[in-house]
Symmetry: C2
Subunit: 346 residues, 2 copies
DNA sequence: CTGAAAGCGCTTACAG
DNA sequence: CTGAAAGCGCTTACAG
């Protein structure tokens, strides 16, 4: 005696009709549908996700693989994803990936293979070849967001352009002695560094500097506040401190700000600093940054995965351009000029 | 021809035996179990979560209701929860609750009733009576973390003590003119303000001030950086600015720091500021705070929910005190003295 | 310890 | 448009 039976009985129809009326799949007369829905509502009936999933093959659930949940950027992207999925009736289950090999094996070889999700979104994590293969063998749509690999489809920011834009801003203020704080490629990264986000930002920086006949310095941070502080201290205590720093993330920029403060170096009078992200607190720090709209990024990848799962072209019918093509264009970013950048001293 | 059948065939046993060998439930000979596991491993077999869930009634999935996923505190707690659940084979599905009434109805009346989860954890959200009732009617274990209601069990910090400790620190430095930035009770909160976290912190503040025969001022922030800045501006531009501010959260304390900076008020020479949380960037801001170990809070509530779901007393056998009793004690907090607090001027 | 069989609560061809 | 029935892929009493 399932709950479905109760509804069918109360509405005087078969369970098949209840299922059709409630899901909207298959034909039902308007009158029947209305009556069934009314009865279901009154009885507080909601179909069991596991039973429906088993019978239909649709889990109505999207898996999201995310590193470091306590990092602002990912939390914000996740929020964007959830904001698009929930209204469509999709749940999101979280798969936190760490550096622990045993944990990763459990994730890719077991957790993800339980058929609990219809598709998976991968947020900026460096995956091994085996892991990419494991994802592929799932037979599920997979989209990455900012993943450092070409293998996974999904929207992405043109990070080379981001690197160029940040550098251009500094150059246009007159800086010639600019250092970049980023991530060293060796740091446990994936196979092909050419697809790496930090590498792209750095490449943009170097290209822009080279275009002016300049050479930029590079110091490795690790995309944390502490790493940024460490890198900035190295730069600022050297024989020839730069007049400007382009940090590959806002959090590293905060670290650079601290390092400058420690040494009594005035920002922006003595030193300009620009970050990347559009972090929550950038306004508080009065930090100039390249905003990459992480919340919107989450929305975009959620829409893309939904389109893949439902086989739709997208919510809006639109004109001649297929929605999928539009959705696969590069993600926007924007320079936000605040008080940490100014012309160089002298 | 299910995947289970393949394994059973290859191992030369029945599907029942495969199920028992793989799950560890029921008896199986050591030899059979080893062989079945070896075959399953070789074939890459992992039981379908939806089929197993339907048959067993166990979803092996915990729902977490969380507001504002992009808030550091919640993201950190979530990380703590996931870190305990994943190793035990439990997935976590996220239910983001916002202020949108339609969205909340969808959550409490539909999403949560799909039997996708074995239990639910509620993170600090103000629930209406109807929502608490809806949670109760789920027939599932429910634990809150820092929920402003007595109805939901679960570990919690003694926030009155937190308020007292912060105030004591300021008092011990010699401050007499202390203001508290918190949250106004009217702000869309739940029925009983007595269970409210912000109210408790404020009560602790007032009790401690009263004990010295002093009266503290109160200004409402809204637990955001901007709200803290606004409240602090109000205090600092008044006729009689305080010599110390106790902010109910680190993020509001950051706002207060900004407001002081705007006005050229030196911290801590002219003004002391203390926050609550143990935020990631507190170290960067050199902020004195009451750390409440959010990651550990997540671990604790995850353990509590796991105990409720599995009916266990907990992982460690322990001594005479039941684990559950120990786990229900108040959560720890700790004063971290940094550079934003000092004796008052003069 | 192991197997045959029923059943978990839905969805969906297939007929009508 | 609607119903009877099979089936989704497991788990679990129930026997043996």
């Amino acid at each position: 005696m399932s709950a479905l039976d109760d509804v069918a009985r109360a509405a005087g129809v078969s369970t098949a009709t209840v299922s059709r009326a409630l899901s909207g799949r298959g034909r039902t007369s308007e009158a029947t549908r209305a009556r069934v829905r009314e009865v279901a509502e009154r009885l507080g009936y909601v179909a069991s996700a596991t039973a429906a999933g088993l019978a239909s093959g649709r889990a109505e659930n999207i898996g999201v693989i995310v590193p470091l949940m306590d990092r602002w950027f990912f939390a914000t992207v996740l929020d964007g994803i959830a904001s698009r999925l929930a209204p469509r009736g999709y749940d999101v289950t979280l798969y936190n990936v760490t550096d622990d090999p045993a944990q990763r094996r459990r994730l890719f070889e077991t957790a993800l293979r339980r058929r609990r999700v219809d598709a998976v979104i991968v947020l900026s994590v460096a995956l091994t070849d085996d892991e990419v293969a494991a994802l592929g063998s799932l037979g599920l749509p997979v989209r990455g967001l900012g993943v450092p690999r070409g293998e996974l489809g999904g929207p992405r920011v043109d990070d080379t352009a981001v690197g160029r834009a940040a550098t251009q801003h500094l150059r246009s203020l007159g800086h010639r002695d600019i250092a970049h704080i980023g991530q060293s490629v060796a740091g446990g990264g994936p196979a092909d560094p050419a697809f790496d986000i930090p590498s792209r930002r750095r490449a943009g920086f170097e290209a822009e500097m080279a275009a002016s006949g300049l050479t930029g310095r590079f110091v490795a941070g690790d995309f944390t506040v502490a790493g940024g502080a460490r890198a900035a201290r190295e730069l600022l205590t050297g024989p020839h401190p730069p007049t400007a720093i382009f940090a590959g993330s806002d959090e590293m920029a905060y670290g650079a700000l601290t390092a400058a403060r420690e040494r009594g170096i005035r920002v922006p009078a003595d030193l300009s600093i620009i970050g990347v992200d559009g972090h929550d607190l950038a306004d508080l720090f009065d930090l100039t940054t390249i905003d990459q709209f992480p919340h919107a990024q989450g929305e975009r990848v959620a829409d893309a995965i939904l389109a893949a799962v439902t086989g739709e072209a997208g919510p809006a019918a639109g004109g001649g351009v297929p929605r999928s093509a539009a959705a696969s264009g590069p993600l926007p970013f924007s320079l936000v000029t605040r008080g940490t950048t100014a012309p160089p001293p002298g």
